[in-house]
Each structure stands twice: as C-alpha cells, then as structure tokens.
C-alpha cells in the first residue's frame, strides 16, 4: 500500500476551546489509484490532507498514523521532522489547491516558481532546470512555453494558472498528487479542460490521485473509489458505481440529489 492512513484525528486549539476537525480517518491508497474525498465545507476533508503534508497551522493537534511507502521502507508522516517532510513534499507527495489566483506567488516569475522545485528535488540548476520547466509547461499544454515561462502569474488566466500549478506539482514525478478542490474556482468550460488534462497526465505518469471536492460529478469522472465525509467523519466509502447507484447514507443521497442533471431542462418543461 502506497499510503496507509489510520485513525487520523485533527483538532485545533482556539480561544473558544478545542475544535475537532477530523475524528478518525482511515484511508488506503495504492500506487496509481485515484480516490475522491467528498464533503461539504468544514467536513474536514482539506484538514485531513494538510495534516498528511504537515502543513496545518501551529495551533493544530494531530494524532493517528499515516505511513508512506518509500524506497527505504515505510515512513511515518505524522509527527515527522520538518526536514524529513521537506524531502517528501513536492517530491513524493505534491499538492494543488483551489484558487490558482492566490496560490502562485504574484511577485515571482513562473520560471522561478517551477525551477525552484526542480532544483530542490531533482538537483537541476541553470539551463537544465529551465529546460525541464519548459517541458513541464508543454506537458500541461501551455502554448509557447519558452516565452511564457518568463511571465508573472497575473499575466495568465485562471485556467492557465491552474495548469502552471499542475506543472509545478508534477515536475518531480511524485507518487501521489493531492488535488484540493482543483476546479472549484474555475469557469465550467475551463473546469472540464483541467479535468481532462489531469486524467491524461495521470494515465501517462501513473501518479496516484487524492481528489478533494464537494462536486460528485467531478469525482465520478476522475476516481475509482470514494469517501464521503461529514463533520470530520467518513459516513460512506466504496467503489464509485455502487455508491452512485445505491447510496447507503442519507447524506450521500442528498449530495447526489444536488448534482444538476441534464435530462429534463427547465425550459423544456416550461414550453410543453
């Protein structure tokens, strides 16, 4: 098992007391597999993956276990030293986030932001790093990458920025890609393009995907298995098709009912 998460709990110390965000998450992810975590805002899905990366705020308390299979055996991520985690982040587990407008540094050129991760984990510098960065931009289908690599983030559209984020995340050929609401902030047509791109790149690189979203439609197209979270707990889990056909939990049924359908458009009903 590539990633084995057991009884992961996350809570936050706040002035109003302890807030429990995740109350015991179990998750297994095999190499090349794709799993969706679905739930509404505040269900603990983002906090779970940030805990795996060691990226939670200082007031977070994390317990449980998450082991990552590496060349040198199993590595415990929870409570790992900062330097150990720095070798994992970006190299073995990469992450893309919701809002590509704010997740790229507005002060730095795209070239700097892609090259630094290549330098850090692949040891490439100078021209070799630039070449590798341009290749990544090509892979995410950014036109004229040799020129656009000199752009700043604000010179790109939202969809193009998310492509840059994906290029950065996959630049060091990670084993796991965590995508936290990767298309939520994008236009619908751009969403489809980004999802297609992710599917294509996943086939080519065999990277395992942990997709976090509140949109069951996105999960259906991208994932093999699904976890439904609510109030920090997993309320339903399993393969996609059985859950979509016969959801066991009332909350999952509500989520499914919330997915818009195309069969009976409103205007058709109104005119008949």
């Amino acid at each position: 098992m590539l990633l084995d998460v057991r009884d992961l709990k996350v809570s936050f110390d706040t002035p109003d007391g302890v807030v429990e965000a995740v109350r015991g998450l179990d998750l297994r992810l095999a190499a090349g597999e794709s799993v969706g975590i679905v739930g509404e805002s505040g269900s603990g899905k983002s906090q779970s993956v940030l805990a795996l990366m060691g990226l939670l705020a200082d007031n977070a308390r994390v317990s449980g276990s998450a082991t990552l299979q590496t060349d040198t055996g199993a590595l415990e991520l929870i409570g790992a030293k900062r330097r150990v985690l720095e070798r994992i982040r970006g190299a073995r587990i990469a992450m893309i986030f919701q809002d590509p407008m704010t997740t790229l540094n507005p002060h730095l050129r795209i070239a700097t932001q892609i090259k630094e991760v290549i330098t850090r984990h692949r040891g490439l510098r100078g021209r070799a790093a630039t070449k590798a960065a341009i290749e990544m931009l090509e892979a995410v289908k950014i036109p004229d990458p040799a020129r656009r690599i000199r752009y700043y983030p604000h010179q790109f559209s939202g969809g193009m920025r998310q492509r840059v984020m994906i290029a950065m995340a996959l630049a060091c050929e990670p084993d796991i890609l965590i995508a936290d609401e990767p298309t939520t902030a994008l236009d619908v047509t751009v969403q489809a393009d980004i999802l297609d791109l992710m599917a294509e790149l996943r086939q080519r690189t065999n990277v395992a995907l942990l997709l976090i979203t509140h949109d069951l439609g996105v999960v259906a197209g991208q994932c093999e298995r699904l976890l439904v979270m609510r109030h920090g707990e997993v309320v339903e889990r399993g393969a996609i098709d059985p859950i979509f056909e016969a959801p066991a939990h009332a909350y999952t049924r509500d989520l499914l009912a919330a997915v818009p359908k195309l069969e009976t458009p409103h205007f058709a009903r109104a005119s008949s």
């Binding site: 990366m53 990226l55 900062r82 985690l85 720095e86 070798r87 994992i88 982040r89 970006g90 190299a91 990469a94 992450m95 986030f97 809002d99 704010t102 997740t103 790229l104 540094n105 507005p106 002060h107 730095l108 700097t112 630094e116 991760v117 850090r120 984990h121 700043y152 604000h154 984020m165 950065m168």
Partner: protein, 304 residues
C-alpha cells in the same frame, strides 16, 4: 514609466506653489523683522537696508518678485548671513543633513526589518514579546528626550562619545541613534504585521507544499510582500527624518540644514526659511515619487 514620473513632477508644482505661499504669508505675519536688533538702527540705515532687499515695496510685489526668482532656481540672498545666498546655505547644509538622514534611515531599515520578521516568525513567543517591547519603547520615547539622555550617559558621565559637532564617525553615533530609533521601531512593527499576514497566505502554503526550505520560503516567497508596507512608509518616514533632524541637529550642534532652518526662523530670515521650506517640499515630493516607482519593482502587477 518616464512619462509617469514626468507627470508626477509637473503635478507637484501647484502643491509647491501653495506651500511657498503659505510660508510667505506666515513669515510676514510673524511679529518682528530681519533687521530688528537690541539696538535700534538709525532710520536712514534701516530704510537703506529695506530698499536693498526690496522690503519697502508692497507685499504683493515682493511676493511676485520672489516667485519669479524661485522659478529661476534663485532663492535670493540671506538676510542674516550677509553676502551669502540661500542657495549657498542649502548647498552647504544639505550634504551634512543628507548624510545624517541616510545613515539614520539605513540604521532603521537594517535593524527594523529583521527584528520585525524575527518577531513574526516567533509569534507569541519570548523573542516576539522582547522585540515588540523594544519597539514600543523606541516609539514612545521622543528623540528630544533620547538625545540629551544619551549625551548625559555616553558623553558626560562616561567619555565614550563626543557630545556634539562633526568630525569622525563617532560624532554620528548618537545623532543617528536619536534620529533612527523611533523609525526603526516603527519599521519593526510594520515588518512584523506584514510578515505574519504573508506567512498565512495561500502562496506561502504552496511554497511549503513544494518542500522548499524554511529559509527560501521566508526570504524568496514572503519577503517582497512583507516589504510592501515598509516601502509605502518610506515616503512619510523620509519627511519625518528631515523634520526630526531640525531638532537633532540643534541638540548636537551639527551644521546641517536643520540648524539654518531654526536660526532662520528665529532671526526672521525670510528668504532662508522660505527657501528651506521649499527645498524640504521638493525633497518630500521626490521621495514619494521614488517610493511609488519602487512599488512597481517590488510588485510586478503594478504598472504605470
């Protein structure tokens, strides 16, 4: 960018004209005149003097004459320092003030920025409380208190530093500390606030998710945004340094522009005071322009 700078400079002319008019009116409204002395001058001598400096003309005529001269970069003759023009006095005093001001500004930035960033990265820990206590003290103690206190401690009780004058680098230590401490403290507080904010930003989280070292996250990813509020503070700060140096130069007996300014005001040296006021005004305009251009360099989204 060049056309932007030019437009800004042209736009500053009305501001400077208003400044000049106010200085003119206020100087003339002040009681007394440049040739009042303990011993009354003979009426004929006074009349000759006033005729020489055109003080016998109606005010509007004097005003027009002054504006005309200033437009030709001639600030006129000083009334107090005979046979010396205001241009000469500014050329003589400004380099001294500039050296002092630049050293104070450098001191404030070199110590203030790291102090504030350190406090931010150790938020709510002893280092943070220590740094912010120092900053609070620095802001609360006025420089006209700090300066005599330092003279007492370092020059009178202990013979470590010269009490005044200008000669070697030791002469600069106390004036720079007196002039720069409050600003250093303010810069530290600004740096702390902006660093805390940027460390919580999405793109810093991205940088950390990429596995970058803590040092690279802070110095490459967080620093530009953390510096932005400090850059906007630099305009007013330069003004503060300039006006603050009037007091400090007087206390330490430094022959800078500030001393001429104070002496000029006391002696009703109309042209000298107005010349220095206008010169300060021009400096502040230039500083603010430099700050705005610096923005564009720090933040690529800003364009002119």
């Amino acid at each position: 960018m060049l056309s932007y700078a030019l437009r800004r400079l042209l736009g500053a002319i009305p501001t400077l004209l208003i400044l000049l008019t106010l200085a003119f009116v206020m100087m003339r409204a002040a009681p007394g005149g440049p040739f009042d002395a303990d011993r009354e001058l003979p009426p004929q001598v006074r009349a000759n003097l006033e005729a020489k400096y055109h003080l016998d003309e109606p005010l509007y005529q004097q005003y027009g004459r002054y504006i005309w001269d200033v437009a030709h970069f001639d600030f006129g003759p000083s009334f107090q320092y005979r046979d010396t023009s205001v241009n000469d006095l500014i050329a003589q005093g400004f380099p001294v003030s500039l050296k002092l001001g630049a050293a104070s500004l450098a001191f404030a930035l070199i110590f203030g920025i790291p102090l504030g960033m350190l406090a931010a990265l150790r938020q709510n820990k002893p280092a943070d409380y220590g740094a912010m206590t120092v900053a609070m003290l620095g802001i609360s103690i006025p420089n006209f208190v700090l300066a005599p206190l330092m003279i007492l401690l370092f020059a009178v009780y202990n013979d470590w530093l010269p009490a005044g004058g200008l000669g070697s680098w030791q002469n600069y230590v106390m004036p720079v500390l007196a002039l720069g401490t409050a600003m250093m403290a303010y810069v530290a507080r600004l740096a702390r606030g902006s660093t805390i904010e940027v460390m919580r930003s999405n793109y810093v989280r991205t940088a950390r998710a990429k596995g970058l070292s803590a040092a690279r996250v802070v110095w490459v990813h967080a620093l530009p945004a953390a510096l932005t509020p400090i850059v906007s503070f630099l305009g007013p700060a330069a003004a503060g340094i300039i006006t603050g140096s009037v007091v400090i130069e007087t206390i330490f007996g430094i022959p800078g522009l500030g001393q001429f300014f104070v002496q000029g005001a006391l002696n009703r040296d109309y042209t000298l005071v107005m010349g220095v006021v206008l010169f300060y005004g021009i400096l502040i305009v230039l500083f603010n322009l430099a700050v705005d251009l610096l923005y564009g360099w720090l933040d690529p989204r800003v364009s002119y």
